[in-house]
């Protein structure tokens, strides 16, 4: 185990999230009911993804500035865990919406035509596909230095694509999803209740720390493997 204090902190924050997240008094919203607690899980996946992609972006710039091979590996692995978090966010969102968004007069399948038009869903799908293309691009280049440089430059483009696809365009269009044209309810101090924020912020930190832990494990494993191959 290396530098373990933040790993312990991440685990403690998640234990707190799981206990307080289910027991704390939450606002009684007639549409969401108890599913409002998904804020501590579903929304945290997306926040974790954004933070992990940001770390990946920083490492990509670091590679371009210094040419250090470790920065390239780190950039790749943080992006990988970020995509995992994004997919989990999508999967949990699919479960959540099938209980809160469906038109009670229609079946789930028939409500899907309006749900599929949600700008947040389309934007998130674009962002994830752009990052999926990053993985494809990387693996298609044989030369190690060329692969590192091209994928670092593409990583910066992919990060820039996050701005319109998940932060700007969904905010401009009407949507069932919260955080549309009315702003970001989760981060708005006037909107989210005190109790919700008490669990929400530690939950983001906890999930993100676990994501960083997984990424560091993958980075160390990758470096080890390359050292073994070099011998």
């Amino acid at each position: 185990m290396r530098k373990s204090w933040w790993k312990i902190l991440g685990v403690l924050l998640l234990i707190y999230t799981f206990i307080a997240g289910l027991l704390i008094e939450v606002p009684r919203n007639p549409q969401l009911q108890e599913t409002i607690r998904n804020l501590f899980f579903h929304v945290c996946m997306w926040f974790g993804m954004m933070i992990l992609f940001t770390i990946s972006f920083v490492h990509a710039i670091k590679y371009l500035r210094t040419g250090k091979h470790e920065a390239d590996i780190a950039s790749r692995q943080y992006a990988g865990v970020g995509i995992l978090f994004g997919l989990l966010g999508y999967a949990t969102g699919a479960i959540w919406m099938s209980y809160t968004w469906i038109d009670p007069n229609k079946t789930l399948f028939n409500s899907f035509d309006s749900i599929a038009r949600e700008p947040k869903l389309i934007g998130a799908a674009i962002a994830l596909l752009v990052y999926a293309a990053y993985l494809v691009l990387r693996d298609s280049i044989q030369d190690i230095d060329k692969r590192a440089r091209i994928s670092a430059v593409y990583n910066i483009f992919a990060f820039a694509m996050l701005f319109p696809s998940i932060w700007i365009i969904p905010r401009l269009l009407p949507s069932l999803h919260p955080g549309g044209s009315e702003g970001n309810p989760a981060l708005d101090f006037k909107d989210a209740s005190m109790n919700m924020r008490l669990v929400f912020y530690p939950a983001i930190a906890g999930w993100t720390l676990i994501g960083v832990w997984i990424a560091t494990l993958k980075i160390r494993l990758k470096i080890l493997r390359e050292q073994t191959l070099a011998q």
Partner: protein, 66 residues
């Protein structure tokens, strides 16, 4: 007249429904069964963390042998 009456009745029903409030899992909290859910979730979390710790230890050992 009939129309006004029916609208009034509908409004009354809507108000009653509102006054009863949103359905929440109050029963589950009252009889303590929510703790079962927490126990299950914490078990899964513990399993995942245990797995990560073991992986971390193994990688550390490999790094030391280099």
């Amino acid at each position: 007249m009939k129309k006004i009456f029916s609208i009034g009745l509908l409004t009354f029903f809507a108000l009653v429904a509102n006054a009863q409030g949103t359905t929440m899992a109050d029963q589950m909290r009252e009889n303590g069964k929510i703790y079962v859910v927490i126990a299950v979730m914490l078990t899964i979390l513990a399993g995942l963390v245990f797995y990560l710790v073991r992986l971390d230890r193994k990688i550390s050992k490999l790094e030391k042998n280099k």
